[in-house]
């Protein structure tokens, strides 16, 4: 792995550092391959930095891409409050991944942000041309427009994980607004897929209202119930017991057959979402129906 030694403060510096590292890294003097699929932009507040680091580590082997990590830091804002301090600084690392087909590069640009506003203007010149841009937003969606709105303007797909949210409150309003603009993935929704399949295979419940019991994380339980309600155009009453993962589901007291064990790492889950380019209307409907679930 090669990393820039100095702090970079302009887009031009970041670009030239990337190309320098690419020339230096490689197998047997060969420059690394540049085949590229996408740019991943991740908004990573301090409490998510460790998790984001390990996800990215695993991702490098699945989806060679350019990742731009935006790290808003409260203490930096205080340090650099005087007028001539640069609003951001970046570091670049480039990991050469040896594979059967030669050597490819996973580029990571980590940007410490002294202030959140204007983040999109750093990202825009750094995304790979003509390739999709994925915005992974860690933690709850903010209520204020900046920088979320501007970053959404750069992205083709927003990826969230509602397991990271404290509750179904304000975030969902921002999410519903995003549905009209970009395609959206919720990693929790993907985790629920084996359960959704199992429920679907059990057949459609009769009657205008359905009772659902779920042991699992609160928002996932709610999302599952909202999905059932929105698909069936029925009213769903949810009985929920907290658990780390979804471990039990019953519909109208009928237990749902436990799907096969599917433990997928956070990297694999994110990688799966990076292969999706289209809108997911079933998810959008379910997310919009969250508030109609009775608990």
């Amino acid at each position: 792995m090669a990393a820039s030694l100095t702090e970079l403060h302009t887009v031009a510096e970041v670009r030239s550092e990337l190309s320098r590292l690419r020339d230096d890294t490689g197998r047997e003097g060969q420059p690394v391959g540049r085949t590229s699929l996408l740019t991943l932009v991740a908004w990573v507040p301090p409490q998510w930095q460790e998790a984001a680091g390990s996800t990215l580590e695993g991702l490098a082997h699945e989806q060679p891409s350019r990742a731009i990590l935006l790290m808003p830091r409260a203490e930096i804002a205080a340090e650099r409050s005087h007028a001539d301090a640069p609003p951001w600084s970046a570091q670049v690392t480039l990991r050469a991944i040896d594979g059967a087909a030669g050597c490819v590069a996973a580029e990571v640009v980590t940007i410490d942000l002294a202030r959140a506003a204007g983040a999109a203007s750093i990202v825009l010149p750094l995304v790979r041309s003509d390739l999709p841009v994925f915005l992974r937003w860690r933690g709850p969606l903010p209520e204020d427009a900046e920088p979320f709105g501007a970053l959404l303007g750069v992205a083709d797909r927003l990826i969230i994980d509602s397991r990271e949210w404290a509750g179904p409150g304000a975030g969902y309003a921002a999410l519903r607004a995003a549905f009209g603009e970009v395609a959206v993935s919720d990693i929790s929704w993907r985790r629920l897929e084996p359960w959704r399949r199992a429920v679907a295979e059990q057949g459609r419940p009769a009657g205008p209202s359905v009772r659902m019991a779920v042991d699992g994380p609160a928002l996932e339980a709610r999302l599952l119930a909202a999905w059932l309600g929105s698909r069936l155009r029925a009213h769903v009453t949810l009985e929920h017991r907290e658990d780390e993962h979804v471990t039990r589901v019953a519909v109208d007291d009928e237990p749902i057959r436990q799907p096969r064990r599917t433990h997928r790492s956070s990297s694999a889950l994110l990688s799966g979402e990076l292969n999706q380019l289209n809108r997911d209307p079933i998810y959008e409907e379910a997310a919009c129906a969250l508030s109609s679930v009775t608990i």
């Binding site: 059967a100 087909a101 679907a200 698909r231 096969r260 599917t262």
Partner: protein
């Protein structure tokens, strides 16, 4: 009405849950389960499918071979094979689930009564695993045993379930034997139940060829005689014949590689776009290519046999010194031909194909060489500086696609150099491409025959090989020698140099 609307109407909960298709419950019966193919390819492929959750919940494997083994012995043997040849780290949970449905029966099937123990074991296994009478028979037995096995299983019609038959190469050794084998099989199975394997078709890059051609608007308009100068298809191996001397003596490069793999690559390169990507539509188009292939004259053919030499630094012996090879053997270990596809798209465009053992390096590639730019407005030392563009499809190793372009060398004058644009499969997507057998077994379990060859394709391929071999009968001295580790006999160069072209060297 779209598929999702149908799902919506019947069960709205299924909408959006398409995901990967999993096959119906079924039992896979492998004849030849104690053999090399099962150990090296089939079981590792099944394990990979199980690990990726692509096998049905109700699934069973019944191994049949002549060697006596218990169920536990068979399972232990297969576990070892997966540990040795599998592409994933061994996971006990995945294995336990797969092994739970695995049994073995020792039977030769050379007379009809010998099938009794197999059907008894199969029925018991089907009841135990709930596979609903659906059966896939995999013939991994030597050609000599093929008809015996087909005759026996042809009469086993499960009540209610479907059945499929997977057949391995060689599918005959000439047109007459291929016809006979097809007829024998088709008296007992419908064509739609037969899945003939050409494992090249299971390779990711071979499938990508169709995507490259038909999902990119820029290639198809220039994919014809007006823009393409010629096509070169190479299937070169650096290895020799190993311990398969007896087999190879009766086969040779033409039957072993050209008849199936090379001709399939040629058909995929030359075929017209199918109306849809379904088995019959694609196979119809391939058959049209085979039917349009001009029968080559002797002057368009080269055959050779390797002598001693050096391969990757090691000294190797010549073909005639290999084990179980006759000292006067005239079996060809190298074959090259100049072929023409006589149709509107390709008239006059040569397809140079070659394959062989003990060549300079291992590579399977399709090179599409475009015509030169018609006029160069630059003052160059020689027109050779601007080389023709080549689209190179790497089938193995290093799967990918590259394109050579002419570019200006930075500086004050105009100097042109060819540069490569590379798309390496492993570089763009996950590095672990599925093994061909994984895809092929899965497709057979799903009943999708697009990557399998149809009886008429196989017969067309053999008809061409027969025409070629007939020339050789009339030209017994035409076998040329070549040094192991080289690119083949010198008359192969003459074949292409005569047209002012040359083989790709690397």
């Amino acid at each position: 009405m779209t598929e999702s609307q149908l799902a919506d109407d019947a069960n709205p909960l299924l909408a959006g849950l398409a995901g990967p298709r999993t096959p119906d419950p079924c039992a896979l019966v492998i004849f030849g389960a104690s053999g090399d193919l099962s150990r090296r390819k089939l079981l590792p492929a099944l394990y990979a499918l199980a690990r990726n959750g692509l096998l049905p919940d109700a699934f069973a494997v019944l191994g049949v071979g002549r060697t006596e083994m218990t169920d536990a012995g068979f399972q232990a043997h297969m576990r070892g094979a997966i540990e040795q040849h599998g592409r994933f780290a061994f996971d006990e949970d995945v294995w336990r689930e797969l092994a739970a449905g695995m049994r073995y029966v020792a039977a030769g099937l050379d007379d009809e009564s010998a099938g009794g123990p197999v059907t008894d074991a199969l029925k018991a296994l089907e009841r135990e695993r709930g596979t609903a009478g659906n059966r896939v028979f995999y013939l991994a037995v030597p050609p000599a045993a093929m008809e015996d096995v087909v005759a026996a299983i042809g009469t086993w019609r499960p009540a209610g379930g479907w059945r499929r038959l997977i057949v391995e190469k060689p599918l005959g050794h000439d047109l007459a034997s291929a016809r006979q084998l097809n007829a024998f099989v088709l008296e007992r199975f419908f064509e739609s139940e037969v899945f003939r394997i050409d494992h090249y078709l299971g390779k990711e890059t071979v499938q990508n060829l169709a995507v490259l051609r038909f999902a990119n608007g820029i290639f198809e308009p220039v994919w014809n005689r007006q823009f393409i100068d010629h096509v070169q298809i190479t299937a070169a191996e650096s290895i020799g014949i190993g311990s398969r001397g007896a087999f190879y003596e009766h086969t040779g490069a033409t039957r072993d590689i050209f008849q199936n793999h090379l001709l399939q690559l040629l058909a995929l390169t030359a075929m017209e776009p199918a109306a849809d990507f379904t088995a019959d539509a694609v196979r119809n188009e391939k058959v049209k290519v085979f039917k349009s292939l001009d029968r080559p004259g002797l002057e368009q053919l080269v055959r050779g046999q390797y002598g001693p030499g050096f391969v990757e630094g090691g000294e190797v012996r010549g073909y005639r010194e290999e084990e179980e090879v006759a000292s006067e053997s005239v079996t060809e270990t190298y074959f090259a031909a100049k072929l023409y596809v006589d149709n509107w798209r390709w008239a006059g465009t040569p397809f140079y194909v070659r394959c062989g053992k003990r060549l300079a390096r291992q590579e399977t590639t399709i090179a599409i060489q475009f015509k030169r730019a018609p006029h160069l407005p630059f003052a160059l030392d020689s027109d050779d500086d601007a080389r023709p563009n080549v689209l190179l499809i790497h089938i193995q190793p290093d799967e990918g696609v590259s394109m050579t372009l002419n570019a200006k060398v930075p500086g004050y004058g105009v100097t042109i150099r060819g540069v490569n644009m590379d798309f390496a499969y492993g570089g763009a997507f996950r590095t672990d491409l599925p093994e061909a057998y994984e895809r092929l077994i899965l497709d057979a379990l799903l009943g999708d025959a697009i990557l399998f060859t149809r009886a008429d394709e196989v017969e067309e391929q053999w008809a061409l090989v027969d025409a070629i071999r007939a020339h050789w009968q009339a030209d017994p001295d035409g076998l040329a020698g070549y040094v192991a580790g080289s690119w083949g006999p010198s008359n192969a160069d003459a074949l292409i140099h005569g047209d002012n072209r040359s083989w790709r060297r690397h």
